[in-house]
Every structure is written in C-alpha cells, then in structure tokens.
Amino acid sequence: MTWVIALMVIIMLAGAITVLFVESHVSAIAATSAVSLALSVLFVILQAPDVAMTEAVVGSGLSTVILALALFRINKNHGKQQSEQNDA
C-alpha cells in the first residue's frame, strides 16, 4: 500500500511541475487532468469514497472539458486573426 501512495504522490507532483514549465497549452491541460486522476486514487486509499467520486467526475470530466473548450475558442480566434493578417 505504501508504494501505491508513493507512486500517486510522484505522479501528482510531476504533473504539477509540468503545468508550470511546459510550453504547449494542450500538454498543460492534460497534466492537470493527470493530477486530478492521481488525487482521486489517493482519496480512495484515504477511505473517502464520496470525495473520490466527486473529484473523479468533476476534475477529470467537467474541469478538463471546460478548460479545453476555452482553449479551443482562444485558438480559433487566434487562427482567424493570423489568417486576416496574412490576407492583408
């Protein structure tokens, strides 16, 4: 059981540092989702199944979808701007 806790903590800290330092925004969103996943496994180990279910549904589902939708809107507008500048 100790090695499972150690593995999940290492995944969480590695994901958090990846969010700070990586350059692509899609990778940062994926790292946030990985942090949320490892966190929900840790909640199961800490005997909190209600909290684990909430964190899994909200963190890996809803939060990632909201972040990806916002990034999609920003990139779409950025692409349109660049195509306008290329046309002009």
Partner: protein
C-alpha cells in the same frame, strides 16, 4: 534573477505552511465532533451514508450556501459570455453540420444511459457513496454530449432555467416546511424508515434530488454557453480593422 526570487518565495512559503500545520499528525485525528456523529448519526438521521447525513442533516445550511455560490458563478458566467459579440445567428446555418453518423447516433444512444446512471447515483445518495453533486455532473454531461456530437443543435436554455429554478425553490420550500413542523430549518422530518432501504432517512432523498437536478441543469447551461459562443469577434475601434474583417468575411 526572476528564477532566484521565485525560488526564495517558494521556500519561504513552504516554511510558513510547515510551521502553521506542523501540529497535526497524519493518522491520529482528534475527532471531537466526528466521534459524536459516528455514534449518534445512525439513530438521529437514519442514513447509511454518514457523509450524506453530515452534508444534508447536520450541515444543511452549508449546502444551501454552496448551491447559492454555484448559482452565482453560473449566472455570472452566462452574463459575461453573452456580451461577447457573437455571429451565432449567421453561423447557425453553416454549423448544423453532421460530424458523422456514428458519432451522432451513438451520442443519442448514450443520452438515456447517462441519464439513468445520473438519476441512480442521485437517488441512492444516502445509501452508497454518491449523491446530488456527482449525479448532477453526470446529468450535465448527458446533456452536453449530443451538443458535442452535432454542434449547432443547441440546448433548450429556457427549459433548463425552469428546471433549475423549480429544483432550487423546492429545496428551500422543504426546509421551510420543517420550520412549520416545529423543527429547525432544513431538519429532516419524515420517519426514518428502515436503514438501508431506498425510502429511508426522512427527507434526505428529496433534498438530494432537488440538489442534483439543480446542479445538473446549471452545469449543462454553463457548458452550452461556453460551447455555443461562436466566433469571438474582437471589438475593433479602428475603421481599417472593421473594413478588413468585412473584406475577409465577404471573400
């Protein structure tokens, strides 16, 4: 230079947090109130899931506050996003496109399955791990999946607002009825029933159903607002920029 100062700030913050929280020992929680709830929760509230009895029975007003915060956040989000100037009316015709038959039909197949799963988790919130919030998020995903598969279909915003308002009002009305019965606000008041069966723990299933429907309707409206906003047309003040846009739109 900036990296060095960031490192110094991080170490100072870590030291501060360690000093503040040094005292509690992991694994030896001094459960003062928790012990009393564990002893008496089964008799007083009658729910098998003690976390549900804390969320709705002992700390019901905190759940009311959380519903209020979620309502404020989703209303403010739709307010901010509706003032982004959109071309959604002109995009409607070209964006009701089919992303493929498999995607559209499997999204329509998933819709009743997800609704069943969400309602199951909501209704059994007082027996097994689950409850209103988890089931509500699954309901929101059920309403959002067909929108992802066929973009431009849109959701019925007025229907969602009606469900959300009705569910929120019924939560408060159940609490006020408890006042008329002589108990405190939001105290569960039906008979306890048999522990472990679906109709147990008083009004707890009704309260969680109201919470679940409200959260589900709110979050699906929020997701639809984020996804339906079409193109973000930047507000241009220059005449040249606006003429550029009309040229590129016309061509």
């Amino acid at each position: 230079m900036r990296n060095v100062s960031a490192l110094v700030f991080a170490s100072g913050l870590a030291f501060l947090l360690l000093v503040i929280t040094w005292q509690f020992v992991v694994g030896g929680a001094p459960m003062l109130i928790g012990e009393a709830i564990l002893q008496q929760g089964a008799d007083e509230v009658g729910a098998a899931n003690l976390v549900t009895s804390v969320v709705l029975g002992y700390r019901g007003i905190d759940t009311l506050g959380e519903i209020a915060i979620l309502f404020t956040a989703s209303t403010a989000t739709s307010l901010v996003l509706s003032s982004l100037s959109t071309k959604s009316s002109s995009n409607k015709k070209e964006s009701i496109r089919d992303e493929g038959t498999i995607l559209a039909s499997s999204a329509s197949l998933f819709f009743p399955l997800l609704i069943t799963l969400g309602m199951y988790i909501i209704l059994h919130g007082h027996l097994t791990p689950g409850g209103g919030f988890q089931g509500g998020v699954i309901l929101a995903a059920a309403f959002f999946l067909p929108l992802l598969a066929v973009p431009g279909r849109g959701v019925n915003h007025s229907g969602l607002a009606l469900v959300e308002g009705f569910a929120g009002a019924s939560f408060i009305v159940i609490g006020i009825i408890a006042l008329f019965q002589g108990n405190a606000f939001l105290q569960p008041f039906f008979s306890h029933g048999e522990m472990g069966s679906l109709l147990s723990a008083g009004t707890l299933p009704l309260l969680y159903t109201a919470v679940g429907l409200k959260v589900g309707a709110e979050l699906s409206g929020l997701l639809a607002n984020l996804a339906e906003i079409g193109e973000i047309v930047p507000e241009s003040t220059d005449l040249e920029e606006s003429s550029l846009q009309t040229e590129s739109n016309g061509s």
